[in-house]
């Protein structure tokens, strides 16, 4: 025969467990509703616009045969944020290099993962692995890529003086065996060297 006080204790515990379960379920549903509400209230873009008002930008496009950069004007749609503008700018540059017969071809899978603008005057370009892994090896080819990215960014995003280039979020020794990516590029020095 089970003692009466033991039965009352077990029954009370069961009631408490069931009540807590119901309460937790309610809390979870409420938190999810709050997340949805915040997401709906956030007006910032999650991706660059594919259409809409365009702006004129200057892209510094590499030409392997001439061994130089050529300034080229382009009309591209740009988002409002400084960081997103920088990313869209370099993606527009990459699209030129990924066209068939480009004067400085890059791999179709090459992409800019993100760009971080760090005040004062510093930018970090994060490339994806395919960008570096599938890049042609050679001093001229690699240096033109670096110069093209840095000069395009510095010309269109005012105030950038120093640029670092990462690959998949990490420092990489060289782009494809030659151009040194471990150091910080000094924009005025690089622009001056490119103009000589």
């Amino acid at each position: 025969m089970i003692p009466r006080h033991l039965l009352i204790g077990v029954a009370t515990l069961l009631v408490l467990v069931v009540s807590m379960g119901i309460y937790l379920r309610q809390m979870r549903l409420r938190a999810r509703e709050l997340d949805y509400a915040e997401a709906e209230a956030d007006a910032s873009p999650v991706a660059p616009p594919t259409s809409g008002p365009t702006e004129t930008v200057t892209l510094y496009v590499a030409d392997d045969a001439a061994g130089t950069l050529r300034a080229r004007s382009a009309q591209i749609p740009l988002p409002g944020g400084r960081q997103q503008r920088a990313e869209e700018l370099l993606r527009a540059l990459l699209r030129i290099y990924q066209q068939p017969g480009a004067a400085h071809p890059l791999a179709p899978a090459a992409d800019i993962r993100s760009i971080f603008l760090v005040d004062p005057g510093a930018a970090v370009i994060d490339l994806n692995a395919a960008f570096a892994d599938q890049h042609r090896s050679g001093i001229l080819s690699e240096q033109l890529t670096v110069n093209s990215l840095v000069e395009t960014l510095a010309f269109n995003v005012p105030g950038i003086q120093r640029v670092n280039i990462l690959v998949e979020g990490k420092t990489r020794e060289t782009l494809a065996g030659h151009a040194d990516l471990t150091e910080t590029f000094d924009v005025p020095t690089l622009v001056q060297a490119g103009s000589q």
């Binding site: 050679g138 151009a179 690089l190």
Partner: protein, 537 residues
Amino acid sequence: MRWSKREQFPVLSSQFSVGSRVLSDVLRAGLREILRTENWELRTGSCLAILLAAVIFLSAAAPDEDKHISVFSPVANYTLPVLERSGHEYVGLLELLEPLGRVTSHASGRQWTLRYNKVDAEFVAGRTRARIGGRDFDFTAPFVIENSRGLVPLSSLSGFLPRFLGTSVTYRESARRLFVGEVGIQVSFQLEATNPPRLNLNFSGPVNPTISTEPGKLRMVFKRDPVVSPGSASISFDDKIITQANYTEGNGEAELDVAASEPLLATFSNDRKTIVISAVEQSAAVSAGTTSQNPGQTPNSGAAAANPGADAFSGNNTGNNNASPNATVHRILAVVDPAHGGEERGAALTDKLAEKDVTLGFGRLLRHELEIRGFAVALLREGDTTSNLDQRASAANVAHAGVYISLHAVSQGTGAHVYTALLPVEGTSKGTFHAWNAAQAPALPISHLVATAIVAEFQKRQFPARDSSASLRPLNNVFMPAVAVELAPGAGGVGDLTSANYQQRAAAAIADAVFSVRDRFGVQLGAQLGAQSGVRP
């Protein structure tokens, strides 16, 4: 600045023969005294002491002769070091064949295989029998493997090389001169009984000897020209002033000496196929003698001054690519760095050809071209070895080189690109130590000068070339003038990159350019050594 052992110990070398005589006298006297004594313990101890002293003296004082073999072929003329193993003279087979065609090798234990163009060969260390082109060949001494390098005895060269090269090979063993095909340059003599007399040396091809004068003699050393014996080792002339010409050859070089009772002057003509030797008039001779008193000038420069306007030999003529290396009093060390190597292959120039292989062959040719212009050269890698960028920079910095040249190759584009350092945002300098990432900063103006000179020399040779800046390590880590040369194919396509002829032209252009600005290296280096306390990674 690096000096050879012979230069480091000139007094020791010159005193060797005197020392030998002294040693033999001491030995004779000592042995006499020992033989007189009847104490056997003293006799044995004294003998051992004398023996030990003799061994120490000989090992310390024996001159270390730099032995070389010179190879002359239609595509390249070059010099290789000779190694002595077990009483036989050896040379590296890969190094021997590399300038002549496409060659690869592989070492596995005692087995060593080599492929030259389409000829395969197998060698076994310690054995005299090898298999070359599907047939056996017996060397005169066992095959040697050292640090993955295959060494073959010199005395077997004329026997087995035709199997690789498919052409006749003549090896002059006593002179260590190897002729591939019919490349020999003949010389003939013609004495004109003018006043003063003139001796015309007519060569069957252009020549570029090192010329020096000694009392009663004008000496021409042919280091890179396949000049062969005129038939007789000594030719006498029926003249009171120019009396005799002697031909000798040894250690890879040929030498022609013209004996005379008066000072001689040598001038080139006929596209360097003729050397005219004439007696210097007394007034000019006095002038030449006076000029040679100036420090830094040689008697030859005085002789050249006696005949202005002529293409005469001048030891201090920066504009003359054929100036004598002997005229450079201080040898400047040039560091040549064949980029990549080992596991780091560099660019894939073709499916099978890696950048590291092209840069190594190119580096060897550049070393040769710089050496014959009087530079001491350190090649940062001799084989397919891995070195990181810090090690390369440290090697150049520790050696206090006068100039650093990094070599690269690429399959796209044409001609050559010459780069100087694109300095990054400078790291923090601590005290008198330079920031490692910007050690190049003080030398950068001279580096630009070197790059400009190299581009100019390339363009003289119809090579498309231009210079620019690149963020290319270790250019920014070395504190001496530093450039990188990226060689691209010529009109012949990617095949040019492995062509010894193409590489030779490029190497000669670089060497001429470096030679033309060499005076700036000493100033730069001296200033840096005075100012710097250290550069560390």
